[in-house]
């Protein structure tokens, strides 16, 4: 069993849903990222780090802005490796790396996953890679000892669910809405049906992301049957507005308990 699945089980044993905060590496600055990430990871079960990409077509305006700002400060693959390594030394929460496919290909598939695994990453999320498009990518990640996480969406057919699950070893990242990342006031009612359809086919943990903004949405995801929740845009927006992202995370934790 891998560290990612174990983190979900530990949360479950404590009667909680896993809480997974996300920050874009290098936002608002490399050092401030480390400070915030460490504080957030302290109260999290897993922690997701985004490697910024110039064309994040799965992301809404908040993460787009964070990515642009990180890139403007020169935060590229090598700097993210450094930040991840530093963060891994400061937290016990398993780290997940999220990025788009092109930076991975440019760095070299095998080397990319090996170097990030060596830096302390435990799992990888690639939002623009349906796993059957590039089975060699998931294989390279697994060979480096990383858990693989792929996305499923409200539009996913049972056949797509089966295909995606075949390549997944970490958890199932369930996209709550048809849409891009971004905080929302509430999640669609059909979320429970989607989670049930996925759970009928796997024993892997199912986490819900996109739209988790605080207590209410986290609670909605928990009641819909999620084993974990991912919160990203709401944390970054708090940082943009000079608020403490930890209070957002605590609200999400509260909600995810119900």
């Amino acid at each position: 069993m891998n560290a990612v699945v174990e983190a979900f089980q530990r949360a479950q044993a404590e009667g909680r849903r896993a809480v997974i905060p996300y920050l874009t590496a290098g936002f608002p600055s490399p050092e401030a990222f480390l400070t915030h990430a460490e504080r957030l990871a302290e109260e999290a079960d897993l922690f997701e780090v985004g490697l910024p990409f110039s064309d994040p077509l799965g992301d809404g305006p908040v993460i787009q802005r964070a990515s642009e700002r990180a890139l403007l400060q020169g935060v590229r693959t090598r700097e993210v490796l450094r930040l991840v390594e530093a963060l891994a030394g400061r937290t016990r929460a398993p780290l997940l790396l999220m990025t788009y496919l092109n930076p991975v290909l440019a760095y070299g598939l095998e080397r990319f996953f090996q170097d990030f695994a060596a830096a302390g990453v435990r799992g990888v999320i690639l939002p623009d890679l349906p796993p059957d498009e590039g089975p060699e990518v998931a294989e390279a990640a697994k060979a480096a000892g990383l858990a693989t996480v792929f996305l499923l969406a409200p539009t996913s057919t049972d056949r797509r669910i089966a295909t995606v699950l075949r390549h997944t070893t970490g958890f199932v990242y369930t996209v709550s809405v048809t849409g891009v990342t971004g905080a929302r006031d509430r999640l669609p009612e059909e979320l429970g049906t989607l989670i049930a359809r996925i759970k009928a086919k796997t024993t892997l943990p199912v986490a819900v992301g996109f739209g988790i903004s605080g207590r209410a949405t986290a609670s909605q995801a928990a009641r819909a049957g999620a084993d974990g929740v991912v919160v990203g845009s709401a944390l970054i927006r708090a940082l943009e507005e000079g608020q403490d992202p930890l209070s957002v995370l605590r609200a999400v934790r509260e909600g995810a308990r119900l």
């Binding site: 990409f53 110039s54 064309d55 994040p56 077509l57 799965g58 809404g60 305006p61 787009q64 642009e68 890139l71 590229r76 693959t77 090598r78 788009y100 496919l101 092109n102 930076p103 991975v104 290909l105 440019a106 760095y107 939002p127 623009d128 890679l129 349906p130 498009e133 590039g134 792929f150 996305l151 499923l152 969406a153 409200p154 539009t155 996913s156 057919t157 797509r160 995606v164 996209v175 809405v177 048809t178 849409g179 891009v180």
Partner: protein
């Protein structure tokens, strides 16, 4: 001439691969929609009624076939091969884009989608989408980079006049690349009700194939018209500009996989020069990678971040080139060259002065490259330049550039 047919080409395979290129690198949310689209297109291209309807709109609405015109004065001026111009600039809306938008709008209607979205660079594709949306009574939303909104104000007005909503995109480089990101984000969000009319031979499968199939009317007509005029279907060379590459694929495809094969020359935008880094020549100076759902040649830095493209022509200002062009280049089935902004401006003036035809700045790249290679070709050789669009939209920008220099 019997008219357009859906031809069977050897690529892509059923997964949308042109050799290693192409594919479907998009968020999972879109995969079922792309599967549905591919199936609907497959069904439509086998349906005689769909074909008849598409042909009728090409003829009666778009004004096809467009002429294949013997450019006598340009031929004299260049002093080499006989030059023909494929007059896509005479198609309705002033560019080849209508071939594709009519096809996709008919498909949208067939699939029961009432809302269409699109990205646009120069605005030619956007105008074309707004046009067919008006004609078919569909709601249209067009994404356009802020920088292009500024450069192509007239096209923005045309789209609005046609009833479309134009959304300026302020992220990234504020050009076609970012407009495409935003259109994909819209589609991810509204996938159940919306048809995405992609304008070039890029994007996830089935777009590169579908757009190629619709645009192949250009090459099919060239074959038939050349047979009439020269007694031969196949010229010695076909020259077309390449941004994403839809007009070039349309002109090339009916020649690329058959014998005898003419020289197929795609002309990329070298911008201020390949060495300056300010250009849009993905094949000449790019590396393979994934953007907008497809594996293809891309302009990118060593970390895989997409590099900004530059061209005097907004329609070529794109940091990638379609997967089929990437494949044709690797296989040596087509050759690719690049001309600078400066050379394109000369091509622009050359065609205006010798033939009374003001080409789009995009098409002026093909004219400029023809001016380089035609003089060295024998007089009995035949060259076809695809004049993909007309230059009215560029006149103000060219005036500004020329005045700046004066």
């Amino acid at each position: 001439m019997e008219g357009f047919r859906f031809l069977d080409f050897p690529v892509p395979d059923e997964r949308g691969r042109f050799g290693p290129y192409g594919g479907r690198y998009v968020p999972e949310t879109l995969i079922p929609a792309l599967e549905e689209l591919a199936a609907a297109f497959e069904e439509a291209r086998r349906d005689p009624e769909f074909l008849a309807t598409y042909r009728a709109y090409l003829r009666d609405y778009a004004g096809r076939p467009t002429p294949l015109y013997y450019a006598e004065r340009l031929t004299e001026e260049l002093g080499g091969a006989k030059v023909y111009l494929k007059r896509e600039d005479l198609a309705h809306t002033g560019a080849h884009k209508i071939n594709n938008t009519l096809g996709q709008a008919l498909l949208a209607r067939r699939m029961g989608k009432k809302r269409v979205i699109a990205e646009t660079g120069a605005g030619q594709h956007g105008v074309s989408v707004a046009t067919v949306a008006a004609m078919f009574g569909l709601e249209a939303v067009i994404y356009m980079g802020e920088e292009d909104v500024r450069r192509q104000a007239l096209n923005v007005f045309r789209m609005e006049l046609l009833g479309a909503k134009v959304v300026p995109v302020a992220s990234g480089t504020r050009t076609l690349k970012d407009a495409t990101n935003e259109a994909i984000r819209d589609w991810v969000t509204n996938v159940r009700t919306t048809f995405y009319i992609l304008g070039s031979v890029v994007g996830p499968h089935p777009y590169p194939r579908m757009v190629r199939d619709f645009q192949s009317v250009i090459g099919q007509e060239i074959r038939a018209q050349l047979l009439e005029k020269e007694g031969r279907e196949v010229p010695d060379a076909v020259i077309a500009c390449v941004g994403g590459g839809s007009n070039a694929i349309g002109a090339f495809a009916p020649f690329a996989y058959a014998e005898p094969r003419p020289r197929l020359i795609g002309v990329e935008a070298a911008g201020e020069g390949l060495k300056t880094g300010r250009h849009a020549a993905s094949i000449a100076a790019g590396k393979r990678g994934v953007l907008h759902g497809s594996y293809m040649y891309l302009l990118q830095d060593e970390d895989g971040q997409i590099a900004p493209a530059h061209s005097v022509s907004a329609g070529l200002d794109y940091p990638g080139v379609g997967p089929e062009h990437s494949y044709l280049a690797d296989e040596g089935l087509a050759e690719y060259a690049a001309v600078t902004d400066e050379e394109a401006l000369s091509g622009f003036r050359l065609l205006a002065k010798t033939e009374g035809i003001i080409p789009a700045l995009e098409s002026a790249h093909a004219v400029a490259y023809a001016a380089k290679v035609v003089p060295a070709m024998p007089r009995d050789a035949v060259v076809v330049i695809n004049v993909s669009g007309r230059g009215d939209k560029d006149v103000a920008e060219v005036k500004r550039i020329l005045e700046e220099r004066a």
